[in-house]
Symmetry: C2
Subunit: 458 residues, 2 copies
Amino acid sequence: MLDKVKNIVWDKDFDIFSLFDKEKEKVHPAELAQAIESIPFKYALASFSKLDYETQVYTFPYLDILLQHKLVRNLSQQCTSHLLNNLSSDERISFFSDLSHLERAVYINYLDEENRRETQNFLGYSENSVARLIDTDYATIFQDMTVAEASQHLRENHKDTEAANVIYVVDEDGKLIDDIQVRRLVLNAPEKKISDIMDGDFVSLNISDTQETAIQKFKDYDRVVIPVVNEGNMLLGVITIDDIMDVVEQKETEEIQKFGGVEKLDFPYVKTGFFKLTEKRATWLIILFLGEMLTATAMGYFEHEISQAVVLALFVPLIISSGGNSGSQAATLIIRALALKELTIKDWWFVMRREILSGVTLGVILGSIGFLRITIWQQLGWYDYGEHWFLIALTVFCSLIGIILWGTLTGSMIPIILKKYDIDPATSSAPFVATLVDVTGLIIYFTIAAVILKGTLL
Amino acid sequence: MLDKVKNIVWDKDFDIFSLFDKEKEKVHPAELAQAIESIPFKYALASFSKLDYETQVYTFPYLDILLQHKLVRNLSQQCTSHLLNNLSSDERISFFSDLSHLERAVYINYLDEENRRETQNFLGYSENSVARLIDTDYATIFQDMTVAEASQHLRENHKDTEAANVIYVVDEDGKLIDDIQVRRLVLNAPEKKISDIMDGDFVSLNISDTQETAIQKFKDYDRVVIPVVNEGNMLLGVITIDDIMDVVEQKETEEIQKFGGVEKLDFPYVKTGFFKLTEKRATWLIILFLGEMLTATAMGYFEHEISQAVVLALFVPLIISSGGNSGSQAATLIIRALALKELTIKDWWFVMRREILSGVTLGVILGSIGFLRITIWQQLGWYDYGEHWFLIALTVFCSLIGIILWGTLTGSMIPIILKKYDIDPATSSAPFVATLVDVTGLIIYFTIAAVILKGTLL
């Protein structure tokens, strides 16, 4: 399709369906959305406006959020009003969630009264609550109906949408009693009572639950849709797995960006403006830089030692980076294990014992390599570390053990400590751990050097 | 529940259901599995054995894979045979996938002939193919049936399982014609023909497609189940979204671990043995250490300069770590954008221009801070950088710009280059980028120092 885009004659008769090899009717809304995203905005707008209202409603949710906003700002008021009123409630809330407050106030007036009240209500919940994902299009039946009556009821009252895949049994007050997979209405004899095919086993979410709780429930119970109720167990709507998958992806992205030492981006890399992007990176980079300045201070204290044994300076990058690397590794493992709930903060002692053992083992391995490096270079005459080369090799060996142990300990404990104080463990990013270990690592290195080289080089 | 576990009297009459506050029948298999995982293995085995066969089959898939293996090794042959034969095909394949080849050969004989043939067939496909996720329990109808006939057919031929949520219309040869949500059988009048309620719009996967392709299709089309066909369009089974969510989580974990500089773990952190864990970490740590040794070599070349101007050594950690941090940031952003398909390798030039601009901007910001640091400390008498402090400050300023620019460029381009050669971009981990930038950063720093300080300090 993208190849076709290149050969388009851009004129006012441009037809978006000319990009497809199949009939207009067979084009999936997702494909149509992809096509609209791939052409210049002017033509995207014209193409979208030309679609019939129904196709607009189906296609809109597949467009990326920035294009959604841009389109709405340019469509006729009538068109926008129809569109926004006919989106499913979760799509509508998602659209409004990402608008500025000013624009929100404008477009909310395009909604009819019921939609407006509903949207305002859900926008009142926190951005991280399930209210922001709720779909209020759901199908209900009563338990004293027969299967045939229930089917009849659904045919008369419900559209053919995803929402009808699971049917909710409610009482006269709208309180949730059970959920029933719609297949049960097919697989059970028409004369059976709904109450006889209920299993009383359902999972629900509260409207004020966080999205993390929702993700966990979807995973734990392998559901594709979970009903949402209020404090009084009144059914308010449903959450569907496609929205949950989007949330999971978004949270993973934030987590990864945090871990890489970037503030979370609100939009994809390619859609984030240059200044915004630089700002998001500069903040952490400056904080880390200020922290790392302490290395200059620390080194300053040891200037005398360095001037007496310049050879010590040669190993500074090697030694501090090893601490940083082992710290990043440990942090990665622990942050992920915490995120997947494989570990909780109660396991800190288990983690600590393990990481001390790991740190020492890894330290001895790398320390030995370092020791050998110096010995071999010295013996083969590739570099002259002076008459006290053995003591220098010993200093490097001991320092590496100390620093790698310190790195793994820091890297593994900081995420747990952050978690304890309800800060996202991923904040202890690889660069953050590395910086912390750099400063302390220098002190470890020069202290060990002072002890071992006292009376010889120092 | 975990609190209750602490107070258990462990004896042979131990009843797993005593851990729950509700009736036996109301305990969800997922909860039962959690309970079984939380008690000592001896009692887990006894509790699982005591369950009736049907409950065993429902509960088993919720147990973690290591416990699944351990249980099967200890259950009676009759029990194991019933269990393995009655698992859904995707659960069965998942169980066999993770077994050693030796054990696979043993347990495959517990299967009846049809299950054995099917399992062997799917295990023949690559570990990353959709064949390893396929569920062969699906429901089919023919297009000349009426809705009532189709419902009758399903009632007679299908169990009440997740698989019946989407019904597949096939021809006499078993070739896939369309998919129909089971709700349509409820929402359409019983006398309608199936061919009239078909929309001819379906998405399918090929049995040899990769799991990445599957993930993409689920996302693009917002599906909860997608049929799998062979080359001849014969329907072979279905893939369900819960399996896809597990795959997504697992791939994210691998991605994150790689990025943190750890080889991917086959099992969760807490379940990976100490030696395995250390080995997975040591490999990368040693590679990085060997790379980082070049810093000692590079510093060796500048030993003369350092001995003449020890003050230069003080800023080494600050300068190289800034390069490493900016590189990690860039790598994080680009790796994630590539993974989410927001970027492709064709965009390299767009990325490069952007990162050059970012690098210079960030470099000037950090460079200025560095310059000010030296100036202020010197002026206030907190540290004496000697009479040429201004030239040193200038060296630090210029070096930071050079190194941060180099860091962002390296961090952003390496993932794209790796992708071009079909290597997972996440291999360019934060520690990897940092190491690379450290070595080259030193050369940049000392070269700039040589130019600026020539004739004064050097």
